[in-house]
């Protein structure tokens, strides 16, 4: 069993296995998104309070979920990279950071696009979740900035991993502190984000879209790690064979 994992974690094997899986995963992701969009945009009924505007949650909420999930995966990969010096995990740290930062930016942008018609303002300091997302974006930017500042990719990954782990310890604290801070400023708080998708006909498409976002994340992460492996191992024999073949 252990032997199988060891073989999988060798860059060469990973390249081949991921290459075999990717076409299937890609097709599945595209089909899933088509179904999810149809379900969320057409089939699901409008919200009795927010009308059609609530449909933004079908991309906003999954983006927010994934922004956190990507951070968790990044920190997990960071731990593996630090303890076992696994090359694939080192690469995964950076690629998770890139994807996670994009998901966070999307969660923020779609949240603001939702907030404008609902609150009448793009930015609402009273909303703890939006504020947490903004801080999360800065955490991602820190990891990316640190990684980019170090020339040696292996050292960069390990340094970024330490920061990612420090971040994952901090995320719950930050989230809690933001909520705590929020309760001090009662009155300003508008709880528009209060479970608009409580009804199951709205909830199911949301969960489905969440699943599709996870599928997308896995697929694209796999593809990105695969390419990065080929780049970093460029002077190895197998990489040359792949490029020429």
């Amino acid at each position: 069993m252990f032997h199988r994992y060891a073989a999988l974690s060798s860059p060469r094997h990973f390249y081949a296995v991921a290459g075999a899986w990717l076409p299937w995963l890609s097709v599945l992701t595209v089909l899933g998104f088509a179904a999810g969009l149809y379900w969320g945009l057409v089939v699901a009924p409008p919200d009795y309070q927010q009308g059609e505007a609530y449909r933004i949650i079908y991309v906003h909420v999954p983006s927010a979920w994934l922004s956190l999930m990507a951070y968790t995966v990044m920190a997990g990969a960071g731990l593996v990279a630090l303890v076992w010096h696994v090359k694939l995990a080192e690469i995964a740290v950076y690629e998770c950071a890139v994807l996670g930062a994009w998901f966070t930016a999307l969660a923020l942008a779609t949240g603001m696009l939702w907030g404008k018609p609902m609150w009448g303002t793009w930015w609402q300091w009273g909303d703890a979740r939006l504020l947490s997302e903004l801080i999360l974006l800065f955490l991602y930017i820190g990891v990316l900035g640190l990684h980019n500042a170090i020339a040696d990719p292996r050292k960069a990954a390990r340094v970024a991993s330490v920061l990612a782990l420090a971040g994952i310890v901090n995320i719950p604290i930050i989230h809690y502190s933001v909520e705590w801070w929020n309760t001090l400023h009662q009155g300003a708080t508008v709880t528009r984000f209060d479970k608009p998708a409580a009804h199951s006909s709205m909830l199911w498409p949301l969960l489905f879209m969440g699943g599709m976002f996870i599928l997308y994340f896995s697929t694209v992460l796999l593809a990105r790690i695969r390419v990065r492996v080929l780049e970093q191992e460029a002077d190895r024999q197998w990489a040359e064979e792949v490029r020429n073949g």
């Binding site: 820190g142 900035g145 292996r154 390990r158 420090a166 502190s177």
Partner: protein, 223 residues
């Protein structure tokens, strides 16, 4: 043996800080200057300043702490001190703990001591001054340790200063919120105990995790 090594590191840090006391004064001067700038910028509107005083004090102190992080490991890196630590066979986390505790005391103490004076300028008085001092005594070490981790991570990087701020400032947010929140509460006559307990919790968490993370960062810096 471990205790003696701890004491040796601690003594060395305090001694070095004293020999480089000019460097130590810089964050302090920065803090005082920034607190002088706020009233000037606000047109001496005392009511407004009093309202904002807790956050102004905390933000300025936070930036002053950040300023003190840059040189933390730079001499050790250039002179080879970190190599000595890593190869010494002594647990690097233990050495880091000694250094971090010394560092927190050296940097925080002056800032904590001048804080009530600066707060007085802004019209903070009474019980709030005491809460300010306590909140800073609890929160400043955490800021120092998170900053030290940032300094260890950006060690030897060109333009590490701005990067240090970028990675450290988001992590400072909880301390800022609880610290300023406690002082706010005291000024408005609400109980400040909850926020102080949360700060104490952060202090414990920081003391247990920061040495581990800093040690890891220092080890990697040698690769």
């Amino acid at each position: 043996m471990m205790g003696r090594i701890f004491a040796a590191v601690f003594r060395r840090e305090v001694r070095l800080a004293w020999r480089r006391r000019g460097q130590l004064l810089q964050p302090l001067m920065f803090y005082a200057l920034v607190m002088l700038l706020f009233p000037l910028g606000a047109g001496a509107d005392l009511a407004l300043l009093g309202q904002a005083a807790p956050s102004l004090l905390w933000v300025a102190a936070l930036l002053a702490v950040l300023l003190a992080q840059g040189p933390l490991f730079s001499a050790d890196l250039e002179e080879g001190g970190i190599e000595l630590w890593v190869t010494s066979g002594v647990s690097l986390s233990w050495l880091a703990l000694a250094k971090l505790i010394a560092h927190a005391m050296i940097v925080s103490l002056p800032l904590i001591l001048v804080s009530p004076i600066l707060a007085g300028w802004l019209g903070v008085s009474g019980e709030a001054l005491g809460v300010l001092a306590i909140s800073m005594a609890l929160g400043m070490p955490v800021l120092c340790w998170v900053g030290a981790l940032g300094a260890a991570l950006t060690l030897g990087l060109p333009r590490g200063g701005i990067l240090l701020a970028l990675i450290v400032l988001p992590l400072y947010i909880p301390v800022l919120m609880f610290g300023a929140g406690a002082v706010h509460a005291a000024m408005e006559g609400r109980p400040a105990g909850g926020a102080l307990v949360l700060l104490a919790g952060l202090l414990c968490l920081g003391a247990s995790l920061a040495p581990l993370a800093t040690a890891a960062a220092l080890r990697i810096s040698q690769e």
